[in-house]
């Protein structure tokens, strides 16, 4: 059997799968996005650009997503970085595995159930009651963008901790010691040695969380009270309430295009940035 034939045979199942379950559905969505809503809902064949012209009607959902997804990513990063640093550098190695496992364990309880716990915690009987008992006013937390931000940060935090931890773990501690011996203050060692080394982990974690947040539906639906809308919620609404398949298809196409553009740009940018810092740290 020739190598070429063997390679083709080995690739055949994966290629067929991707064609049938990824390319075909995306093509159908693209075709549907030029169609019209059938009288009772659904799709009827046509060629119109109206669905794309109407995308502005979902501008608020796109805006929410494009603000809260980066905000959630940033919150995850801010909370995860010190923890990953602590786990990789500071903690007694004999506790390290246990502590790492404890970061991932919440992930094994369905996100639905964990978000439900936040409905209780952020509702009037939870944290707001505690705050008002302590005499700091009576804030309303549930069904606000803030609640959604807490929910997504909570939901995706472990995905940020791990890549950063992995990149920091490879850090050679002798570098830090050398840096200290040369009289460099700790913050300077951190900026010049630790931070550059962890950029690949930060880049991976941010991308992972960002991609998942852009398609988020559940957490805004549960903690936003139907008021904080992501593109994902708009999509579910278009398919499961107003049954406007062609318009929903257009919104889906727009979301995919936005993701392709932002993620590709982001990858270019971080590659150059990380590359640049690599040179600096080598000196």
């Amino acid at each position: 059997m020739s190598t070429r034939l063997r390679t083709s045979l080995l690739l055949a199942p994966a290629t067929a799968w991707l064609l049938a379950m990824l390319v075909l559905p995306l093509v159908v969505v693209a075709v549907f996005s030029f169609g019209e809503r059938a009288a009772a809902g659904g799709y009827s064949a046509a060629f119109t650009l109206e669905n794309f012209a109407n995308l502005g009607a979902r501008w608020a959902a796109f805006k929410n997503t494009l603000m809260l997804a980066p905000a959630g990513t940033l919150m995850c990063l801010i909370i995860a970085y010190p923890l990953a640093y602590y786990l990789a550098v500071k903690v007694d190695p004999k506790w390290r595995t246990l502590l790492l496992i404890l970061v991932i364990v919440p992930f094994w309880t369905s996100i639905l159930i964990r978000s439900y716990a936040w409905i209780y915690l952020l509702g009037g009987q939870g944290i707001p009651k505690l705050i008002s008992t302590l005499g700091f006013g009576n804030p309303r937390l549930i069904n606000t963008p803030f609640a959604v931000l807490i929910g997504i940060t909570y939901g995706y935090l472990p995905l940020m901790v791990f890549p950063i931890y992995v990149s920091l773990e490879r850090l050679d501690k002798r570098l830090l010691e050398a840096s200290a011996d040369l009289g460099s203050p700790p913050w300077r060692s951190f900026l010049q040695v630790t931070l550059p080394l962890s950029t690949p982990g930060v880049a991976t974690g941010c991308m992972l969380v960002f991609i998942l947040l852009m398609g988020e539906f559940l957490i805004p639906a549960m903690l936003g009270g139907g008021k904080v809308f992501f593109v994902g919620n708009a999509l579910v609404d278009l398919f499961l309430q107003s049954r406007n398949w062609p318009y929903g298809a257009a919104v889906a196409v727009a979301l995919v295009v936005i993701m392709l553009v932002t993620v590709t740009a982001y990858m270019r940018f971080t590659r150059r940035w990380a590359g640049g810092r690599d040179d600096v740290s080598l000196m």
Partner: protein, 273 residues
Amino acid sequence: MRFYAIAVYLFLYIPIGVIAVFSFNAGRYAAQLQGFSTQWYGKALSNPFVMEALQTSATVAAMSATLATVAGTLAALALQGVTGKPRMIFDALLYVAVMVPGIVIGISTLIALVTLFDWLNPMIAALWPVAENAPKLQMGKGSLIAAHGMFTMALVVIIVRARVAGMDRSLMEASADLGATPFGTFRQVTLPQIFPAILAGFLLAFTFSFDDFIIAFFVAGSETTLPIYVFSSIRRGVTPEINAIGTMVLAASLLILIIAQSILQRDRRAKTG
């Protein structure tokens, strides 16, 4: 630093603690504590819909993860020898597969398959000897396995490919020089080297499928997976039964983890000792 870590762990575990505490609630409403009871655990375990949803989730996860791991590993191995345009196309497909949000995969798979089935079913019925008995294609476990597997296969390819790239090639050449068949080389030399990546890919694929809600929500047809069951229970008005299910799933995964960890540690001790 340490206090900071403690604060983050509290943030991670307080909601889980809330779930566990309310699972022992004697009352019917999830949000009011009314005494201690384990009745909801019994209710959950004897609820046929919970058990069936669990079974559906496990079957779909096992099937999709197995198929994705096999197809993905084969592809990762084949890709070593692929360059130029075919390679670029395949990589682009993987990139898109990983990046398209789950909700778009769910919706697009739904409308593509519904349209396709609407078109195929009359044809099948026309060709079938007795039209009333003709099989009907519809959404269900099959479509769910195919949709989950597509995404997780892309993950497997990426994970295994990284390992394949770091593999010691001289061993394979030596094996071939010594007259081993390509399959023999694969089984005795390649497979042991890439096995950790395959296992990691399988576990990731299984976990993803088991926990996925949004793709299943659109693609599962009349099948109910565990996340879909939980979602509809939350809409029905939460009883502590849901908390009991969540607590049990968590306890079971912890148990498996502890067992795996202790086996690994004994293994390590045996090797070093």
